[in-house]
């Protein structure tokens, strides 16, 4: 992986068929599971204090895709969340806003209206989220509808059944089609790493998604356990690093689901820092898919500012 080959060359060779995709993906270096777990655990021992902690907390807040994906979502609930997105801490105007609000397509119009002019992105899940078990035409219509309603980011799910059955070309083609349906919206591809089960599969799915044009690769829907984990995120970051070295194209990473505390978020930022470095320490290239995380970040932020432990009465429940 030395010289950067033209993007089109790489795609042409590799994606020509199931067989060539398979040869490429299975030719990537394997992942030793114990070693990957150990590296992630070692990075978790980094001690991030004082000014570094303050920086990390603010950066993490700016990276949050504040999410609500429930059958019971209503415009009222979504409006509340948008208000929180703009002003997360009612007691402190210096607190930065989050990166995006992430909702179901039916809630996009409300969200777009609330966030107009704020710079906060409108992200929508699509493609029969979370299972993806629907005809392609339905998934593409889902995508187009969300974009038309005002989403500028689309979070799609890959076809895990096809992936696990080795039908890589099918997975690839679906991503390409959804990317087209996105128009100008940026595309996050959810791998659902909990269902992929092995780290080798996570590496292969990451590459597959990037080859197909993903702007971001995302760990999980948050509806399946396990969701995001540090080792899985580490492997995805290594993949985007190597992809960038090979093609010159930068792809973002979004761990989602199960990230609840500031300590978790900060340890993910450490993994980003020591795996891919400065360029990805930016909401343009790294996001957290979370809901309860934000309040813990705010509590920690308050503690750093005041010196005392804060409590649930001092953050809003939305």
């Amino acid at each position: 992986m030395t010289a950067t080959a033209p993007l089109s060359d790489t795609l042409a060779d590799v994606a020509a068929s199931d067989a060539s995709l398979r040869a490429f993906l299975h030719g990537l270096p394997g992942v030793d599971q114990v070693g990957a777990d150990a590296r992630a655990a070692a990075l978790r021992t980094r001690s991030i204090k004082t000014t570094a902690k303050a920086f990390a907390i603010d950066l993490a807040i700016r990276m949050v895709d504040l999410t609500t994906l429930e059958g019971a979502d209503t415009p009222g609930k979504v409006r509340n969340l948008c208000a929180k997105a703009r002003r997360p801490d009612p007691t402190d105007p210096t607190c930065p806003p989050v990166a995006a609000i992430c909702v179901y397509p039916s809630m996009v119009a409300t969200t777009a209206a609330e966030l107009a002019g704020t710079g906060i992105h409108v992200a929508s899940v699509a493609t029969a989220f979370p299972s993806g078990q629907a005809p392609l035409s339905v998934k593409l219509e889902d995508t187009r509808a969300a974009v038309a309603a005002g989403a500028d980011e689309i979070d799609m799910v890959i076809n895990r059944g096809a992936f696990l059955a080795g039908r890589y070309r099918e997975v690839y083609d679906e991503i390409v089609a959804v990317k087209q349906a996105c128009g100008d919206a940026h595309l996050k591809v959810i791998l659902e790493t909990g269902e992929l089960a092995t780290y080798d599969n996570v590496r292969r799915a990451s590459w597959l998604a990037m080859l197909a044009g993903a702007d971001f690769i995302k760990t999980s829907t948050g509806k399946v356990q396990p969701a995001a984990t540090p080792p899985v995120t580490l492997i995805m970051l290594e993949a985007v690093r190597d992809f960038f070295a090979m093609t010159g194209r930068r792809v973002g990473v979004k761990p989602a689901g199960g990230i609840r505390t500031s300590k978790d978020a900060i340890s993910y930022l450490v993994i980003v820092n020591e795996t891919v470095g400065d360029a990805w320490l930016d909401p343009r290239w790294f996001r957290f898919g979370a809901s309860t995380l934000l309040n813990d970040l705010l509590l920690q932020r308050q503690k750093l500012a005041s010196g005392a432990y804060s409590g649930p009465d001092y953050v809003t429940l939305d």
């Binding site: 992986m1 030395t2 270096p29 394997g30 992942v31 030793d32 114990v34 070693g35 990957a36 150990a38 590296r39 021992t45 980094r46 001690s47 991030i48 204090k49 004082t50 000014t51 570094a52 902690k53 920086f55 990390a56 950066l59 290594e238 930022l269 450490v270 820092n273 020591e274 400065d278 320490l281």
Partner: protein
């Protein structure tokens, strides 16, 4: 200026109480050395004097050996195994309770990062005592006969690279088997051994079972040569190991030696690359490379050498060198001025012999003993940096074409302590492991230790094994 700067995260020093002076620990008490001589011990990170420690001479050693003999004959030797076990369990427990304090002390006296002394050294120290405590009342099942007997008094000399861990590796099996000990810690790192002596007091260990005599080479020589020592155990340089082997020749003394190494870390073209990079880094930069089993020779298959080196250099650039008490430090101080000089000299030789030297940009503190992590490429088998143990954060990189060549080069050394194999192919791991003349082989990992796992070398890396059931053998009569 990095986007994400880690602020200082210092571990507090106040948890440990370092006395201004320490005596010798003989027969359950701290006493002054007969000569009144003492030696300063220094913090290698900043050259601050930490304490003055007694210097034992031959007469002090004699007093200690007598105390050990007395304790062996009258108390420890006759004691039931289950009672010995309970003393060892107590010691293990107290070590766990005082773990943080001991880790801080170790980092201050040795120079290693607190992250390592806290997360690696101390847990292993406690685990070693727990493991051997459990053997004390089960010796009949250890495979050395139905009623194996101890040897008597063990004289033990340990190095400065893992001071408390090497003490645990020596004392735990010796005591479990029913022997008493006189142990000499390294002259630059006596403090955790002396605090261990305090722990023996807290555990109410009978006087004379453990004796700690601090001092330099002469103290060690006196201990090894003492006629009433039944068993000698030494970890240190091959050079000194040879001298000891000559000294005990013709005597009744049993001897085990754990000496130097120049381990090959072999990376095949189908290695899990990112984890291999971690393994290489761990192999040579863990503990500043002050590790007898360090993976100091990287043998990389030629077809992936360029790619691997690029990844390795990128990874080395994230290593943090600095204050051992900062929790984010990866690489601490070199243990002494003498060792630093050796590392510098061999590195200079590397350049002189034509290898290409590389280090990531690295700000080293002004005071103290420091060396940046360093890589040499274009190294040949004949280069000094491929043959001699540097014992520092310096990696020599060589290439190979076929598995057979890798094995040949890996074995082409008088040493034989350890080796690493990186490949996704299981059968290859087992075939190569079979052919490597090394006492410890790590596959897709490195520098992994466990009290249940025997450790020791082939050839000039020494003889005898420490850890596991095999670790009892050296302390039992044949």
């Amino acid at each position: 200026m990095a986007v994400f700067d880690y602020a200082p995260a210092p571990e507090s020093r106040s948890i440990v109480d370092i006395q201004p002076t320490y005596g010798l620990f003989i027969n359950g008490e701290f006493t002054d050395p007969r000569s009144g001589e003492c030696r300063k011990t220094v913090n290698p990170a900043n050259e601050e004097v930490l304490a003055e420690v007694a210097e034992a001479d031959a007469s002090d050693v004699d007093v200690a050996v007598r105390a050990a003999r007395q304790a062996y004959e009258t108390v420890w030797g006759p004691m039931r195994g289950s009672d010995r076990a309970k003393y060892l369990f107590r010691i293990a427990r107290i070590i766990q309770e005082r773990s943080r304090e001991l880790a801080v002390l170790e980092s201050i006296d040795n120079g290693k990062p607190i992250k390592e002394s806290r997360d690696v050294d101390l847990p292993l120290v406690a685990a070693h005592f727990f493991y051997y405590a459990g053997w004390a009342d089960k010796l009949a099942y250890a495979g050395f006969g139905p009623d194996p007997k101890p040897l008597g008094v063990a004289g033990q000399v340990i190095p400065w690279n893992f001071p408390l861990l090497m003490l645990a590796w020596k004392i735990a099996p010796a005591l479990a088997a029913g022997n008493t000990v006189v142990l000499k810690p390294a002259e630059t790192t006596p403090l955790t051994a002396l605090h261990f002596a305090q722990i023996c007091q807290q555990a109410d260990l009978p006087p004379g079972v453990v004796n700690i005599v601090t001092g330099g080479g002469a103290t060690g020589a006196a201990l090894v040569a003492h006629p009433d020592v039944d068993k000698v155990a030494f970890t240190g340089s091959t050079e000194v190991g040879r001298q000891i082997a000559r000294t005990v020749a013709g005597t009744r003394k049993r001897l085990t030696l754990e000496l130097g190494g120049k381990a090959a870390n072999i990376v095949f073209d189908d290695a899990p690359l990112d984890q291999a990079v971690e393994g290489i880094v761990n192999g040579i930069f863990f503990n500043q490379g002050h590790v007898c089993c360090a993976g100091s020779r990287l043998l990389v298959q030629e077809s992936i050498a360029d790619e691997l080196l690029e990844r390795l250099k990128r990874r080395m650039a994230t290593l943090r060198v600095g204050d051992p008490l900062d929790k984010n430090t990866d690489i601490g101080a070199i243990n002494s001025a003498a060792q630093l000089e050796k590392i510098r000299a061999l590195s200079a030789a590397g350049e002189a012999e034509g290898a290409q030297r590389w280090s990531p940009p690295c700000e080293l503190p002004a005071r103290g003993f420091w060396f940046a992590p360093t890589l040499f490429t274009g190294v040949s088998q004949t280069h000094r940096i491929a043959r001699e143990e540097i014992f520092g954060p310096v990696l020599s990189v060589l290439t190979f074409r076929t598995p057979a060549e890798a094995v040949e080069k890996a074995n082409n050394t008088p040493y034989g302590l350890s080796a690493g194999i990186w490949t996704e192919k299981g059968s290859r791991i087992l075939a190569i492991a079979d052919q490597l003349r090394a006492g410890v082989v790590w596959a897709n990992t490195f520098n992994k230790f466990d009290p249940t796992s025997p450790f020791g070398g082939y050839k000039e890396s020494g003889y005898g094994r420490e850890g596991g059931r095999h670790g009892l053998e050296a302390y039992l009569a044949r």
